[in-house]
Symmetry: C2
Subunit: 170 residues, 2 copies
DNA sequence: GGAAAGTTGCTTAGCGCTAAGCTACTTTCT
DNA sequence: AGAAAGTAGCTTAGCGCTAAGCAACTTTCC
């Protein structure tokens, strides 16, 4: 189908071939994309974990700190806003906040306007940690992406945006 | 940078803009790719779970059944082969096999040549379930991929293969 | 040939997430 | 205005995965 000269077979190609042998009736074209997307997520996840570990935090914890950092001064959000942004249940968020508060990277304080509510704020220490970690994480991603030249990388980003947009609101 | 007429902003674009505001020094180009890859994995994961749930199994359980199915007759592998293929620890595999055996989808039997070993075999019921589930899963993926025309989908698959290859052995 | 080291195999303890539950505020109806 | 229903907010119980541990076979060295 493609006139590309020679592209090395990868693990996904092997799986697709196996299916073609035992179930030749299946249309496995979509696996070519989503199989690789899944594997990329897995492989990069491992590397990101290691990058963040140098700052003493896990990936999930990084996500919390980064969300606060991105929100700008005064680096304050509610647990509800955090769990919504990270597509996490409030239960999972409670656990992460516990750990981060114990580590002194953020602080929980009551919301003055809503006696039910809480406000979560980055500490100075947390700010330092997240700034270090985000740089380390981006370095890992940038290194991995260097497998593609800039033009092909931009093309890939555009195709992914298009696919994601079509996927998120059908 | 791109001359593309108008591409709608997505969640990843928004995150990148936030970073540009608070940390304009960061090079966030790689996020354009890996941020979207991660979100795609998350979104498709949810849908695949629902597709497999119709056959009464989880995604992890599907992976086990599919690996056995793909291996061809007599649909038999060792727990070790399964955990290696699925990049899972043997502990995680024990739990999955327990559930699947209880559901009657596979059978554990002693290896006649190795008194330590075990052989895992798909039952007739398991074969039926996995054949139903793989079709349902592929339908979900194919539907999602239809956001791109065939040519762009193939291009995306090639770019991903290239990136993955460069990523997995650097 | 035997024994010790190494390899492969599988089941049990700790961590993190989802689901259920409880409290506090808000809104609406009379 | 008062009360009841609804909504938003957060901490506690069950499930699944990784890490540590124990058993059986194989290989290698003397």
């Amino acid at each position: 189908m493609s006139e590309r000269p020679e592209q090395r077979k990868d693990a996904v190609d092997a799986i697709i071939e196996q299916w073609a042998t035992v179930r030749p009736d299946l249309d496995t074209a979509a696996m070519e994309v989503f199989g690789r997307v899944g594997r990329l997520t897995l492989a990069m996840g491992d590397r990101m974990d290691k990058a963040y570990a140098k700052s003493g935090i896990s990936r999930g914890e990084f996500d919390v700190l980064a969300t606060l950092r991105r929100s700008g001064e005064p680096y304050t959000l509610s647990p509800r806003q955090l769990s919504a942004t990270l597509m996490l249940t409030t239960g999972g968020m409670t656990g992460r906040l516990d750990k981060l508060e114990r580590a002194g990277l953020l602080r929980r304080s009551p919301d003055p306007h809503d006696r039910r509510g809480l406000r979560v704020t980055l500490t100075d220490k947390g700010l330092g940690v997240v700034d270090e970690a985000v740089a380390a994480g981006l370095a890992v991603q940038t290194e991995a992406l260097s497998a593609l030249d800039a033009e092909r990388a931009a093309l890939l980003a555009d195709l992914l945006r298009e696919l994601l947009a079509g996927t998120e609101r059908p």
